[in-house]
């Protein structure tokens, strides 16, 4: 067994410096690496390029990094729900590269799987395709999109083991598995860190080979963005 555990979030983020490109898992506030974000804020690293489907809300998730003006560029598919984000974007302090959601996921997976680029139909004929190579296959037009190149990937799983194997829960899975192994160093934080052998190999979602560092996360808030319920009849 190759051991991936580190003692805490400080050790897990060792080596993160200004100007780096970071991948952060999550959809909205669901499945975001809460501990890593808190530590990035504490470290105060600046001029970051963050690849994340969304940009958090004003006082939670990636919004915390935006509040401290640590982000120079966001690569996302949807960035609503965040006033500070909007202010920085409109004032030109923050660069934003809007990317179709499926393309965003595939740019992560391509990096993970060793593909430099891929063709997708998404965005053909729109401003997303401007300046990009296009090509016809079987009568349909496609856009060439390149794999991401990132320094660190921060993902959050439900359970993990010492070997770095991960299991996710519900829709908190989202972008997290696609980002594992898609950067030079992948850091996984988990709600429950288990000894090797405690997870059934048949039920592992991401094998530990894609993970360099894993740690037991603490104090998960798991904030709900839109609490919707139905009445009992």
């Amino acid at each position: 067994m190759i051991r991936k555990t580190v003692r805490n979030v400080q050790e897990a983020l060792d080596g993160v410096t200004d100007g780096m490109t970071l991948m952060l898992g999550g959809f909205g506030l669901c499945g975001i690496p809460e501990n890593a974000i808190t530590e990035l804020v504490r470290l105060g690293v600046k001029d970051l390029c963050c690849i994340s489907n969304n940009a958090g809300v004003d006082d939670f998730g990636l919004g915390l990094l935006l509040q401290q003006r640590q982000v120079q560029k966001m690569i996302s598919s949807y960035v609503g729900e965040n006033d500070e984000f909007e202010r920085q974007m409109l004032s030109g302090e923050l660069a934003v590269e809007l990317t179709p959601q499926g393309t965003l996921a595939e740019k992560c997976r391509a990096a993970q799987a060793g593909f430099p680029a891929f063709y997708t139909p998404a965005g053909y004929g729109t401003e997303v395709a401007e300046g990009k190579e296009t090509r016809e296959f079987n009568g349909k037009m496609y856009v060439l999109e390149e794999a991401f190149q990132a320094d660190y990937s921060f993902v959050k799983a439900w359970k993990g083991d010492e070997a770095g194997n991960l299991v996710f829960k519900g829709t908190a899975r989202n972008f997290n598995p696609c980002m594992c192994g898609a950067a030079k160093i992948t850091v996984a934080e988990v709600e429950e860190l288990l000894p090797a052998g405690a997870l059934d190999p048949n039920e592992i979602h991401v094998p530990g080979i894609f993970i360099q560092r894993i740690f037991q996360g603490i104090d998960y808030e798991k904030r709900i963005e839109q609490r919707t319920v139905r009445q009992r009849t």
């Binding site: 959809f27 609503g80 809007l98 499926g102 998404a122 997290n176 839109q226 609490r227 919707t228």
Partner: protein, 217 residues
């Protein structure tokens, strides 16, 4: 004239037994409430779930189980969770049978614009560009005209496009229309609406093939 529920009710009739369906935010979300109960349908949400159920009962919300609108949801027996790349693989690979989404504008050649208004804060396209570029069966749910009363069914979209030549069918508060190579083909009228009213509200080419039936809901 139909209200939002009426539009959703009419679109629900397009959902067939055995369909995997992706519903967009807004009117499309309401479609799930009106699908016949004697058919088997699974709803896909692009953040990574197939087999979405209704909202949870109060106290049973789970922060780890949400839909693409970030709302807390439940799952049905047979549901599954998956990552975002797999989710868009289902969409891009045409495994999802029907996509229902809203629009700001639709052009008579099937172009759709629904993500950006120049001069306003742009929130992003989310999964809309992937959905419209990939799905073979796309129904647009929208009002026939915008708040200012201008037609949303145009010769050519004025807003930045989400996708080109992709919309097949449109259900509005006034009519059901099909996108054909010659323009918008009028299929049904909303209850109490005349063909003349639909013609007035449609800027793009409208084809009226004889007498048009009133839709049944």
């Amino acid at each position: 004239m139909l209200n939002k529920e009426g539009i959703a009710k009419r679109i629900a009739k397009e959902v067939q037994d055995g369909y995997y369906v992706n519903l967009g935010i807004g009117i499309p979300t309401l479609v799930a409430n009106f699908v016949r109960e004697d058919i088997s349908v699974e709803f896909q949400s692009e953040n990574g779930v197939l087999g979405m159920g209704p909202f949870p009962f109060e106290g049973e919300e789970d922060a780890d189980i949400i839909n693409a609108g970030k709302q807390t949801i439940t799952t049905m027996p047979g549901a599954s969770f998956f990552d975002s790349a797999t989710s868009f693989g289902m969409i891009r690979g045409k495994h999802v049978d029907l996509t229902i989404l809203g629009a700001m504008e639709v052009a008579e050649n099937g172009d759709i614009a629904n993500w950006k208004i120049p001069g306003k804060m742009v929130k992003g396209m989310g999964g809309a560009m992937d959905l419209v570029a990939s799905a073979e069966n796309i129904i647009v749910a929208m009002m026939h005209t915008n708040r200012a009363g201008a037609s949303k069914l145009l010769k050519k979209c004025s807003l930045p496009l989400t996708g080109v030549g992709c919309v097949k069918k449109i259900v509005t508060n006034l009519a059901v229309l099909e996108v054909t190579k010659d323009g918008f083909l009028l299929l049904e009228r909303a209850p109490g609406i005349t063909v003349a009213e639909i013609e007035n509200a449609t800027e793009g080419t409208l084809i009226v093939p004889g007498s048009i039936p009133e839709m049944s809901l």
